[in-house]
């Protein structure tokens, strides 16, 4: 399809991009954390991908290439909004020591399907993800929201796979800590209801 677009069937780019629209928006949102800014950025990223399609070599997956463009667009917007200090702040965050221990609750039980359907739980999760430190949120969104694999995530963010694993672990534990008190209030007495596996 890419070859045909480059050969002149330009309208086909609409179809090429359609499966990745959500991914582009979520990637932008993970960085800029603002709906309108994320949408503007997503449009810019898609336009940029269209303009530079000939530079896609096919040695990476198209989704990874596109994610990299979206990340660059998001970072550009962040820099504009926060000033040039952003990059160094991000790097400084990586090394900081924190408590990445999950919350053990002996009276917590499995979440039933109907609890997962609750709107409040979705809202709590959205808020918790938005509050994650930038470097953890970006990895979490690429891995667990967009379901990209470790190597793709590493390549798109320009970090090594080991850093992806560490950041993802910390992000998940932070979310678990944040949400367990909330889940506790929705927990039923019985257990074994929830049977879905990842």
């Amino acid at each position: 399809m890419i070859a045909r677009i480059l050969a002149g069937e330009k309208e086909m780019f609409h179809e090429l991009i359609r499966p990745y629209e959500r991914m582009v928006y979520l990637t932008l949102f993970a960085i800029v954390k603002n709906e309108a800014e994320a949408e503007d950025g997503a449009q810019e990223a898609v336009i940029s991908a269209y303009r530079h399609l000939a530079s896609f070599r096919g040695d990476a997956k198209f989704s990874t290439w596109l994610t990299t463009i979206a990340i660059n667009e998001g970072r550009k917007r962040l820099r504009k909004a926060k000033g040039a200090a952003e990059e160094s702040i991000e790097e400084a965050e990586e090394g900081h020591e924190g408590d990445y221990t999950p919350v053990p609750l002996t009276d917590w039980r499995e979440i039933p399907l109907e609890a997962l359907e609750r709107k409040e739980l979705r809202e709590a999760l959205r808020a918790a993800v938005a509050e994650l430190p930038d470097i953890y949120r970006q990895v979490f969104v690429l891995r667990d929201l967009e379901e990209q694999n470790i190597e793709e995530t590493a390549e798109a963010l320009g970090i090594n796979p080991g850093a992806v694993k560490v950041r993802l672990h910390r992000a998940r534990i932070m979310l678990q800590k944040r949400l367990v008190p909330f889940l506790k209030t929705t927990a039923p007495v019985r257990r074994g209801f929830f049977g879905r596996a990842l």
Binding site: L6, I17, E110, R122, F140
Partner: protein
Amino acid sequence: MKLDCKHVWEHISEYIDKTVDAELRKDIELHLEHCEICSAILDSTRNILILTADDRTFELPVGYSKRLHERLKDEIEKSKHEPPVGETK
């Protein structure tokens, strides 16, 4: 090897992703059989990930796709008067 809870927590993310080696996986599973606390942590973390992957949790703005393709349409029209796609600086 007998694992303690803290050791299990350190590997919980990799366990979910199935990237722990076979031996460690077996040890973690053995521990989970007897430890309700770690089982609850594992379940809660997994459930958060299921909820995250659910399209209804992180929704796109209404009309996002329509606006995106309208913008793209304009860009494609514009580029028809320019050199082939991808050669634009």
